[in-house]
Subunit: 458 residues, 2 copies
């Protein structure tokens, strides 16, 4: 059975699909702000109604926070679960928007048509690519793709407090052969991409205490040890002159890139000058012997996310402070063990703390890196589907940030996830004037139709 009639139907009905997305975008489902609780509920209801119209067995499922949406197409065959989120980021600063963020419209721009509004790219536009693909499929074939589950949450932008409990309580219902996640982007706005490497994250807060109170730097300066200087020395020593991290054993479990992946990344011709130039930088600042893509995708990091101590207000205070603090985080890759690294880090710091100072630590989460099993044939099938749609070889890529849902699917439900998305780098997600290119929406729908076709073929 050819997928072409479904693709033709998608092309014909794009105006109607766009209108449906605009209707969903008009609902201000800001999950982090309790004032918008009813709107989150309304967004869930809207989607449930739409999925019911399409023939899904769909329901809104209560949680202590915002509701989940769960829908099943029924039938036999490999069980696929699609994940997206219907909640959106806050819109402040509102004055930087060119129009009401919840009065979306299709706009003509020099770079083509865009759908402008909060949530257009993150993640309502993306989740609707999948639903619209199902709609065209149903309209052409008379029935939905078989054994499909749609699972949408409304708390992704506010830390997903209800997600793991809900997944645990409904594990049998949600456990599928593979999860499909649509919350990522094209590589450099042009190459279709499947994310197969996600960095883990380890957070540590460190406090150096010296004197038992703040001192006058005139009275004690020269004789009393300064915890800010101690902390600065520790931070300065965490990297060597080549940018390598000096915590003992830190690189245990950091794999070298397989040659084929390295070759694939070289073909991507990552424009690091533009990537850094867009934020006012020019020189890749990581390990001297690594490429920029390795620095952000496949190499671990150590960064200071915050530092404070002494007097930080206006003017000057000649205090010799009793304490200094820093928040330090590590991005992890491969099989680096966050708990081992935490212990090694703490022991390493302890060896650097001079007499008269004490160090204390507060841990802030520890998640390992994620590595998808691309040996599962579904990955190559999806890559083929994306390559056909975009007429550019799709790539397996890394992601420097952590996308917790992928880890939860693995740890809670024991299933792998395939991350495919159509956002572009200039979509301004989490910022004013968020947009989603009509091309992303249109070819995103077509992409899912092709992926579903490959994955559900007997």
């Amino acid at each position: 059975m050819s997928i072409d009639p479904v693709l033709a139907r998608i092309d014909e009905t794009l105006p109607e699909a766009t209108e449906r997305l605009l209707a969903l975008l008009r609902i201000p489902s800001i999950s982090t702000d309790p004032a918008y609780k009813a709107e989150c509920d309304r967004a869930a209801d809207w989607i449930v109604e739409d999925l019911k119209d399409l023939g899904f067995d769909a329901s809104k499922r209560p949680t202590p926070g915002h509701p989940m949406v769960v829908a099943h197409s029924g039938g036999e065959g490999p069980h696929l679960l699609f994940y997206g989120h219907y909640d959106v980021q806050p819109v402040d600063p509102l004055e930087l928007w060119d129009r009401d963020p919840f009065d979306p419209e299709l706009q003509d721009t020099a770079a083509g048509k865009v759908i402008r509004g909060r949530g257009s790219s993150d993640d309502k536009g993306q989740l609707m690519t999948f639903i619209e693909a199902c709609r065209a499929w149903k309209e052409v074939n008379g029935s939905l793709p078989r054994n499909l589950t749609i699972f949408l949450e409304g708390e992704e932008e506010s830390g997903s407090p209800s997600l793991i409990p809900f997944m645990k309580e409904n594990a049998e219902e949600l456990k599928a052969d593979l999860a499909l996640i649509c919350d990522t982007g094209l590589f450099e706005s042009k190459t279709p991409a499947i994310v197969t490497m996600l960095r883990g994250l380890l957070g540590e807060e460190i406090t150096i205490k010296a004197a038992n109170k703040d001192l006058h730097s005139g009275m004690f300066g020269g004789a009393a040890i300064n915890p800010i200087r101690v902390l600065a020395k520790i931070i300065a020593s965490l990297h060597d002159e080549n940018g390598h991290i000096t915590v003992p054993g830190f690189y245990d479990g950091v794999p070298e890139l397989p040659d084929e992946v390295r070759a694939q990344w070289q073909n991507l011709a990552f424009d690091h000058a533009k990537f850094l130039g867009d934020v006012g930088l020019s020189v890749p600042a990581g390990e001297h012997d690594r490429t920029p893509l390795e620095m952000i995708w496949s190499r671990p990091t150590c960064d200071v996310n915050g530092i404070w101590g002494g007097y930080t207000g206006d003017g000057f205070k000649t205090v010799l402070p009793s304490e200094a603090h820093a928040k330090i985080s590590f991005r992890l890759v491969g099989s680096q063990d966050p708990h081992v690294i935490r212990e090694n880090f703490r022991n390493h710091i302890r060896t650097m703390v001079p007499f008269d100072c004490e160090v204390s630590f507060h841990g802030h989460g520890a998640s390992p890196a994620g590595q998808m099993e691309i040996s599962d044939p579904a990955f190559e099938k999806a890559r083929e589907a994306l390559t056909e749609e975009w007429e550019t070889p799709a790539a397996y890529v890394g992601c420097g940030g952590s996308i917790p849902i992928a880890g939860y699917f693995k740890s809670v439900l024991g299933m792998d996830a395939m991350l495919i998305g159509f956002g572009k780098d200039d979509d301004q997600i989490h910022s004013p004037n968020e947009k989603y290119d009509l091309e992303s929406f249109h070819k995103g729908i077509r992409s899912w139709a092709r992926v579903l076709d490959k994955l559900t073929a007997e």
Copy 2:
């Protein structure tokens, strides 16, 4: 004429004198915080009224900042000028205070009675020792000591921006034969002391800017430079492994201690174990080849008084910040030139700032060290007076803090200054729970009566 009746009067009226000090301490005259501008004004008014009641020709004198208080007793004879400051340090962290810093009280402690509250020791309690000495003198003798000027500022804790212009504009009025400054302490809380060496102070605020906005540490971590790490490296490099400061030319003008002063300091048998032990420390942290007294009196320092950047609130935010900041100060000695050191420091930092980062500086005052002319017979007279009052030989000592006013009196008005004060090492000035011993206040008043007696004797 014996001074004894004045001393007796001081003893009898100590409760009333204490009440007056408590009233002044209730005025939160924090000069560095613009929110307290009116309170600084109110403190000046309070003192002017008190001095007028005493028979001084007193007035509040406007400046672009907080007002000065100037008062004259009139008459002939050697012209003595007394200096103090009515402004106080900020009180943060407020939660470490055992009571409202501006609700002072006389407390019984195991070590005797203390006056507790912000400014009790620095400097309202100290300046009131002189005013109370004048009051008792007037009440006993019927008139104030002759040809006395009282000169109080309200910006000592915020860099004294108006001081030099005011002194220049009013040079004829303020120029005296000798200045008396009450803003220092007893040596080791027991030996009366006249400070003859004062360290200078140079303050610098440094900002490192990297990216043009805060970045997500997942997306950019590894590739984008982190300004906190840059700042930490700079701070760590400002001292070598022996504790020497690495700014080029920094030690130009730093004298070795004369043999006789070194001998006198050895006789003081400074108990550095107690000095550091009282604040929870044990090891002198300065230059490895210097004694603890040298570290705090006769050697220059470089300290970090504050540092901040990135996320410093509760929890964790994986931000890669665009900026990092530090407040850095230098204590100066001998003939070190603060302006030359400022330039050398800035140029030195500039050589350490990597590509993609910018550094900017904000100066916070620059005062050279001071050295008094103890050959003036007034010094020996005052030392006799203090020795009689405290029944312990008074000493000429150094002072680790900078008391810029002493330098200004010399450079702007061409007069020497004699620094006598009664603070104790555990007064917690600039810290929570500041106090002034009632003994300091009481014997301080008596000391000034004796000093005035010696210096105004025909």
